[in-house]
Every structure is written in C-alpha cells, then in structure tokens.
Symmetry: C2
Subunit: 512 residues, 2 copies
C-alpha cells in the first residue's frame, strides 16, 4: 500500500475505534447502565466526540488526503481507493467547519437529552423535557450555521438532513412525499370504508417467554448467531455494530401487542445484516458504514414488512405463534395472521404503524422539524401543533403526549433530519424488492420455507458489501436502473392490501 | 478556581472520560460481548490507550502543572490541590518515559491475551496460550526498561509493581511475605493435624436461582442499589466503576460450590464500595481512584472474609441459606456454617482458597512472576515450575493446568506485579479491622443484625473518601498509627480459627 494512503488508513482506523467506543457507550446507556450513571456517561461521550473530531479535522488529515491522492496514479474513479479518498475528503471538509466544542456539546446534550426524554416519556411530562429540546434545537441551528457557506444546502435544515441522507435536498424529499401522500391518503380512505379485517389476533395475549422463543427462531433464520450478535431489551429499539463481529440489536416486549417484539426484532436484525454484510476490507474506514439512512432503513423495513408481514412467511409464522402463544392465538392460521398484521388503521405510535399510515407519521415529523429549525414553530407550541396536525392526518385525537410528541427518541438526542429517511427507506425497499423478485425466481417459495439466507445473500451482493462506496442514488441506478421513486412501493403495497382485504386496490378507482 | 488549575482539571477530566470508555469496554468484553467481537475490541482499546497516553504525556500537561503549582500560594502540602499536583506530576513523569506505541500495544496485547486465555483455560491448553504470555512478558520488560533510569526501582519487576502498589519495593514485600509464611506454615500444619471441621456444607447443592436471591439480599445490605450498581455473570469476577454513579460487579456461580457466588459478590461489592465512596470532588481527577491495589484489596477481603465469613454475619446467613437452598443445607446452623466456610484446606484455586492458605497462593505467583520478568524462568518451563512449587507449598499435585497455571486472568492481560497486592490487602484489612472494632463498640452486634452500613460509613470516613490523596503508607499511619504489618492479620486469623476449630491457636505452642 502507498505510504500516505497507509498513514491515512491508520488515522481513519483510530477514528473508527473511537466511534466503536462511543457506539458501545450508547448501546450500554440504553440497555445496561444504572440510572445514576447518566451524567458521567454524557461527559464521556462528549469527550469521545471531541477527541474524534479533533483528530479528524486536524490539518494532518488534509495532508494525508493530498498525499494519498497523489499516489492514486490514475486509478479508476470507482476504485475503492478513489472512492475512499472522495468520501473522506467530503466528510473532512464538512467536519472542519464545526468547532470541536460544538461537537462535544452536541454529544453531551444528546446524552443528557436522552435521559430527560426517558423520564418525561414515562410521566408524559413534555414541559420537563422542553428545556432539553430547546437546547438541542439551538445546537442544531448553530451546527447548520457552520455550513451556511456551502451552496449544496438551500436551508439550515438541508445541512442537517445531509448528515443522514447525503446529497438529498429537503425539496426533493418534499416532492416524493407529496406524491406518496397523493397515493396513500385515498388508499387509506378506501380501506377505512371497506369491510375491516379481523385484527383481534394482534391484541391477543402472548407471554414474553414465548415471544422470546419466537424471535430467537426467526432471527436465527435471518442469520443471527450468538458468536456475532446480541439481542437485548430496551425502551426504544435500535441496532448498532460495536465493531467487526459484534452486532447488537434490541427490541421491547408487550404481552398485549406481541407484534412489537417480533417485528421490532426483525426490523433491527435487518439493520444489523446490512452493517455486518459490508466488505471486510472497508471496515475501520468511512466506506465501512451505510451510505445513507434511507438505504439502511430500506433493509430493516424490507425484513420487517416485506418478509415478516409477507404472505409466504406468515405461512411459516402462524403455526409457530399458535404453538408458542396458545390461548386466543392457538387457532390462528396463515391468512388470519397475514390480514391482522397488515390491517390498515390510524394509530398513535409510529413504530407500531401499518405500512400505509406509516409514511404519514414520518411526513408529520418532517414538516414539524423543519418549522422547529427555521423558527416558525416554538417548542412551547409543539405539542399543540403535533396534536392538531395528527388529528388532521389521522382523524384521531392525541390525549397523552407519551403517545404523541414524546414517543420518539430522535429529537431528544438532537437528531433533526433523521425522520424522513424512514419513509425514503420504504421507497428504496420497494425498488429493491421488485429487483430481488426478478433475480430470485423462487423467492416466495424460499420465504415460505424459512430459507431466508438466499435473500440475505442477494442483498449482501447487491447492497450491503458496498458500504458507503456509492451514494444511494448511484447504487439504486446501478442495481435497479432507476432513481428513487414512489411507484414500486405503492405497487407492492396495493397488491399486498388487495390480498389482505380481498379487494382490488390495484386497478384505478371507477369513475362515478 | 485558578486558571491553570482549571485547565489542568479539564484535561484530567477528559483523561478520566477516556478511562471510563475503556473501563466500559473491558467490562463489556468480560460480560456481554459476542465472541467474534474480540479483535475489534482489542483495536478499540489500543486506540483509547494511545489517545489517552498522548493527551497525558503532552508538554502542555507539564505547562499546566507548572502554572498550577505557581497558583498554589503556599497552600498546605496536604491540601487537595497540592496533593493533586504532586500525584499528577508523578504519574506524568512516569508516563512520559513510555512511548505511545508501547502503551497501545500493551492494551491490544492485553485484550488479545484475555481472549486467548479464556479459550486456553476452557481446554487446559497452556501451549496455545504460551505465545500470548511470551508477548506480554516481552512488553512488560520493554515497559520496565523505560523506567530503568528511575532510582526508585531496584529491578524491572519493581517498576511493574509500582503501577499497582506505588512506592512499595518488592524487597519490602518479600520481607512481609517471609514473616507471613513463618506464621502461616506452622498454623496450616497444626490445623492439618487437628480434628477437621465438617466442610460438607460447602459442597451441598444450592441452585443458582436461590444463590442469586441470597446474593441480592446481602449486597443490598452492603449498600448496593439498582440505581447505581449492576451485578452480572462472568468467568473471572471483577468490579469496575464505569463512571460516577455507575458501579459494576460480577460474580460466577457453581451449584456444587455455592461459596464462589456469595463470597465473590461480597468481595467485588467491597471493591465497589471503595470506589463509590471516594469524595465526589476528586472524581475525574487522578485523586478519584484508589491509591494502591493493596488498599483496594483490603476492602474487598474485609467484606468477603471478616464480615462475610465472620461469626456474627454467619448467624444471619445460616437461616437464609437454609431457607433458599433447602436440601442438604436445610438444617445448617450458624456454627456449622462458620466452621465450614473457614475450614483450612489446601486447594488448587486461589480465589476459592481459605484465608490461611490464600497468602501461599499469592506468594507462589509473586515468586514465579519475578522469575518470568528477570528471565530466570522461561514460559515453556512455567507449568512445571508452577506444579513443582505448588506441591512443595500445598502438598497436593496439580493435574490440570486449568486448575493450575491457567486459573488466573492477570498474566493474560499483561498484569505482572499485581498478585502481591492481594496478600498486602489481607494485612491492611487486619489493621483496619482492629481499628474499626476499637471505634465501633457494637460492630459485632451490628453485623449480626445485618446492619452493615455503619461499617461502610466508618470505612468511607477513614479510607474511601481520600481516594489517592494519601499514599497507602500515609493513610495507614494516619488511621492506625502504624506502617503495614503482619501482626493484626495473624491475630485476627488465629482468633477466628481457634473458634472455628475449637482449639487455642492464639497461645504460643507448648515447648516439648
């Protein structure tokens, strides 16, 4: 390896190591840490952020980047080395605009805010959480101001969004979301007027022990092994790769709404499969993570919804659930399960929403957080604004902030611009799902038989292994021949709901 | 606060934060991490060690130390500020002699070695572990060579020992150990010829669930609260403070030797009480840890042995064990328990040894590790040397390296010079125990009633709160009026064994 490139990789490796230490600290904070450890944890995370930031933005990184560029010797722009230098330089230039103290303060505030959110959510105490949220917004604005001179960003919000969905302006997101709303709102209305499916199986009692056995069975089919993975309980499910060979997923359990545990685990396992499928040569470099959260979310939602709530896999799940849950679920069959887990019904909690209403949850947050950042909405007005818009979109009234504005962790940790990636993930998943079906002739048969590894291998080959080598747009273009679009997801959804509701949702509505 | 001192404390705080991240990574590696995460963990720990080392040894630390010294304005040498500067400068000067790369390599080798040891111990494969041990010894020698110019150290081993037991030369340790051997060897011989106590209760079956309930009860009496503490399972028990308000202890369970779980937990809880009792103002500075491991171990062994195996507390334990274990233990009474848990009998495993033979385990390791460091013993000869010396000291033959040279974690992690602190801890505990009894008139009555907090408060007041402000010798002098000595521990032990064995071991042996 060339001298500068080797030295650059050594430095990037150290940055990755610091990131792993921080990942572990985050995981631990949400799964293991005694409550009184939170103040010290916030300090520790702030210091790791400060040290990593200082190491990265140092002039020496720039000198190594320059030197390594000179060593490329006309390597193809799509070579791993050229891509590594391009991505690293882009991240370096962005990071250099941000003072170290601000990075440390964002990390500290995120950790403090998380603890405040956990307490506020438990008691529906938005007022108690508001000061943290205000501070996080203020820090996000200061962060965005650092990038005010970058012509890529049309607004402060765009600079934030870019950290989660690189090179995707909010205006482009808004166009996609408008198209999605145009498709989903009438679909939801049509289903609201249709004969409802029987969703009582969703609320039938299922003891946690049995749920754990079900989840253990399913994630092992997906490729979970105890040598490389952990699964733990948490308040807000997440997945994290602490280092090579160490992938951690979390879920939560509800004996009166068992879908939370199973589908939460499949979702997070999907994230974990992505991270653990990245080419080993990319690890400890910036290429060794997902390029965008939209692409990341496409993986989690594909496993959760397209596999886990798909007709073939429901055929495998139904008898297993009947056996493990017993009681009211003892007689559940494949179609009954399929209909129940795909019933469309406005509900309060985003992570428990069906696939049709899910995007509306995201769009609501996307709209509100843009207003919080541009100052047209104050934190003190947020609960009211949330509740009013929620009723407008869903037709139901929020009566408890824990089921409303306090339900999600993101803002508590200072993550603004994160939410839209969830809905983008659905769209990307729709595109990849069509492509996978075209490539894997017997995919449905494999899923019905619990053979999930061929799909995992297809995803590894076409998506995972590339890490952040290509932008999301480039990868979609390479693998599907298209840019990000709404069509495939909507086609998938209409076909699924037609079967679940025994309706023809695919044909255009009759003119009357 | 003065300007330089404030800047110095900020820097020391960051070093403490990095240390906390490393502590968490160590804890996680031994309790939670999936096996395949070990290589990445070693890299991450190496990087944290490198970064912390670089930050500390930087010239800027020296400038801040100089500036802060100028701000002292004749503060008393025993003031917190003066002591902080003295200790920090001493650690800084020592650390500056060590190249950063060597620090990183020691951390990496320690982490790799730990994994190799876990595997080797499981299969009694010393040969598989030998290369790691050789590498660790080589690194320890290189580390000691960095300090070759320091006249405080009479040998390479002394430089290593100083990291665990500051300002305690190995020659002084050897003198204490010789005196201890002179007391213990005839005592053990005398007991070997005495009527044995009934130790069958030690080997009676006790289900893990019941053991967990017993341990939960006992550690809560000691001051464990779920808001500040965790207890987890591990291969080799340890305690660690991850940060303020976050103390973690570990233990292991054996259904056919229940004392492992209970006394391991009390031992580690004793360590945890020390760390969590340090004055809050000292946290995030070098004063915020124990000064020496001998002092640390005095706390753990006092709780494990003087409290946990003491006659008063056995009165509280016996009915609880009878109830939770049932079976053969259903009829156990206070004296039966007391006699069993104090029976003196040569066994293979140090951490399960009685208080009389324990020191011999330590002395054996102390002698062998000095030879490993000075090169008079090769790694390839170690198992044979261990087994020969073991038979000489204990009169029993090691037939399985897992019960011999592979039983302890320390050398696998590169910790040479650590073992003697265990026996020093016994001696210090003896001294503090006498002092506590003099100060707390009804101590035995309190222990019998499960009122453990007055002792904890006494220890906090006289030992814990000082952290590393005073050297061990200074603190002992202040609190007991004596330097470290063998007498109190031997008096304590003879009195205890006299009662357990119904013999008079206190009077000098009759001349015949």
């Amino acid at each position: 390896m060339s001298q500068y490139l080797a030295a650059l990789k050594e430095r990037l490796g150290q940055l990755s190591d610091i990131g792993h230490a921080a990942s572990l600290a985050h995981w631990d904070q949400q799964t293991m840490m005694p409550a009184h450890g939170s103040a010290a944890r916030a300090e520790s995370l702030a210091t790791l952020a400060r040290i990593g930031h200082e190491l990265f933005v140092d002039d020496q990184t720039g000198r190594l980047l320059d030197g390594a560029a000179g060593e490329l010797n006309g390597a193809h722009p799509d070579s791993d080395e050229a891509r590594l230098l391009w991505l690293t330089r882009r991240q370096w230039e962005k990071a250099r605009r941000v003072p170290t103290e601000l990075e440390a303060e964002r990390a500290r505030a995120g950790s403090v805010g998380h603890e405040a959110w956990v307490a506020a959510r438990a008691t529906s105490d938005f007022a108690g959480f508001a000061p943290c949220l205000n501070h996080n917004i203020e820090l996000a604005r200061r962060y965005a101001e650092c990038h005010a001179g970058d012509s890529h960003y049309a607004s402060a919000y765009d600079a934030l969004l870019d950290d989660y969905e690189p090179r995707m302006p909010s205006a482009a997101v808004a166009v996609l979301f408008e198209e999605l709303k145009r498709e989903l709102v009438p679909l939801i209305a049509q289903l609201a007027g249709a004969e409802p499916v029987d969703d009582r199986p969703l609320y039938a009692r299922f003891a946690v022990d049995g749920q754990r056995r079900l989840v253990d069975h399913v994630v092992r089919l997906m490729g979970f092994t105890p040598e490389e993975w952990r699964i733990d309980d948490t308040v807000h499910p997440f997945a994290i790769m602490v280092g090579a060979g160490d992938v951690r997923i979390t879920t939560r359990w509800d004996e009166d709404f068992w879908a939370t545990g199973l589908y939460g685990a499949m979702h997070e396992c999907g994230h974990g499969l992505y991270e653990s499928g990245i080419a080993p040569a990319f690890l400890r470099t910036p290429l060794g993570s997902a390029e965008s959260l939209g692409m990341h979310e496409s993986q989690s939602r594909m496993w959760e919804n397209m596999v886990g709530r798909g007709r073939p896999f429901c055929g495998l799940l139904a008898p297993r659930i009947a056996e493990l849950a017993g009681g009211e679920l003892a007689g559940i069959d494949a179609h009954g399960l399929y209909a129940a887990v795909n019933r469309v019904k406005p509900t309060f909690i985003r992570v428990e929403a069906d696939e049709a209403t899910y995007a509306l949850h995201v769009i609501l947050r996307f709209e509100l957080e843009q207003q919080l950042i541009d100052g047209s909405l104050q934190v003190s007005e947020l609960p009211e604004a949330w509740n009013a818009r929620f009723e407008e979109y869903f037709g139901i009234k929020v009566t408890d902030d824990a089921d409303g504005v306090l339900q999600d962790v993101h803002w508590s940790a200072g993550m603004f611009g994160y939410f839209p990636t969830y809905a983008l993930g659905n769209l990307i998943a729709g595109q990849l799902w069509e492509r996978a079906h075209a490539d894997l002739a017997d995919l449905d048969g494999q899923l019905a038989a619990g053979q999930l590894l061929p799909l995992r291998e297809w995803l590894r080959e076409h998506v995972h292994r590339y890490g952040a080598k290509f932008t999301t747009a480039e990868l979609l273009e390479r693998e599907t021949g298209e840019s990000i679009s709404v069509g495939p997801f909507v086609r998938y959804l209409k076909a699924k709901l037609s079967e679940a509701y025994d309706l023809d949702l695919v044909a255009p509505p009759a003119i009357n």
